[in-house]
Symmetry: C2
Subunit: 241 residues, 2 copies
């Protein structure tokens, strides 16, 4: 896909999800990343046009909060009791499988995204067509958020558990990436993840690891956008809970 | 114990441990808290008197690093490859049991303390006589370090797993406590912990938890100081690994 086609696909999925799932009076969660940003724009468009009220909106990153604010959406930047329980969260993903398990964290916001997903009654994932896999791990690296202190030791432990190498994430200008929660991010190289839940647990156990971008049993609906502007809602595998 | 007696006991343990376990040329780790601070003073005294060289010294908190620097010890504040592998770490604890399992984190530095303990060939714990228990949990609250975002949800999940209430730690002036790694600290109220390893794993699994102050199979030696200035080295239970 060209960048224009990818943008078309993401936009289609985001606008479809906001039109279908958002209801007046809801407590909403907003994800992070390029597709989730289209959902924020779609939400602002709908609110401007239909003039309905939402009970609350909470953001999973400073970046998403800034975008929402710039579009006139009254957004909270922490998961306080004022914004919970969340009725619906719309977020993106780097990859999803037939059980709707996800790899997330390409944008570095996975810790807040997972906390919001856990606090949400319904988690809707919007993606473009390149994010669909039968088995996780083939399409994108696996992000792991770690405490900066002692990162080299934690990196080695993560690589041992995963059986693969990883890189410490840097920003476009070569500086070390630091998340909104002041964490470093390891990207474990691509490779099959036959048991996402088992790997999630093993990585989370490592001293120095805060969380890993494997989301298991947290996603309820997936909306896939295509380059031609069409969308599809795949059905969750009957084997998934 | 009076505060003076407690200081005597801590000082006795710290000076004994530094005299017995520190060898020239070692890579050292320095713990945090009031007893560990006596160990830093004991180390400075020994270095001043005996003029030997250490390969490296790494600190588990900004506070310990500042103390060490003020006493002329050349200390690193990160667990880089320059300071590893650590030959010996001397640290304090809030409580230890007959298997040398520990509760740590009263000082709020448990994340770095655990990373350093994991990277140390020998971990020596210095405590006063009030810290000894047959079973963990009866003497001190259990600290849990968590991501600030969504802390109320994480608190509830920690309380469910522990079966006890907790409080979000504040400083002496009533402000929220924030660790060197920008984390909040929950203190779970006292109560029996029959299986420290099982509870550690269950708490660490919770989304939003970074680590918990249960140290299992990380402590090699304990030095207990008494108010009269005497010290004792208890023997690890034969059942412990």
């Amino acid at each position: 896909m060209t960048p224009e086609q990818a943008a078309n696909a993401k936009k289609a999925a985001a606008y479809y999800a906001v039109a279908k799932f958002v209801q007046p009076g809801m407590r909403l969660g907003l994800g992070s990343g390029s597709t989730a940003a289209f959902a924020v724009r779609a939400l602002a468009d709908r609110l401007n046009k239909e003039k309905f009220h939402l009970a609350s909106v909470v953001s999973t990153s400073m970046e998403t909060a800034a975008l929402a604010l710039s579009l006139g959406i009254d957004v909270q930047n922490n998961l306080t009791q004022d914004v919970r329980p969340i009725d619906l969260t719309i977020d993106g993903a780097d990859e999803f499988d037939i059980d709707f398990c996800l790899i997330k964290g390409g944008g570095g916001a996975l810790v807040r995204e997972k906390l919001v997903a856990c606090a949400s009654r319904q988690e809707v994932i919007v993606v473009d067509e390149t994010k669909a896999g039968v088995e996780l791990g083939h399409l994108s690296p696996l992000p792991v958020m770690i405490v900066p202190y002692g990162w080299e030791i934690t990196k080695k432990a993560v690589e041992t558990v995963c059986g693969r190498t990883s890189t410490l994430r840097t920003t476009a200008n070569g500086a070390l990436f630091l998340s909104d929660d002041s964490l470093y991010c390891l990207d474990v190289v691509k490779g099959a993840i036959p048991s996402p839940g088992v790997l999630e647990e093993a990585i989370k156990k490592i001293t120095g690891v805060v969380d890993v971008g494997l989301f298991v049993n947290l996603c309820d609906n997936v909306v896939v956008g295509y380059a031609d502007g069409s969308v599809l809602e795949p059905v969750k595998s009957a084997g998934a809970s």
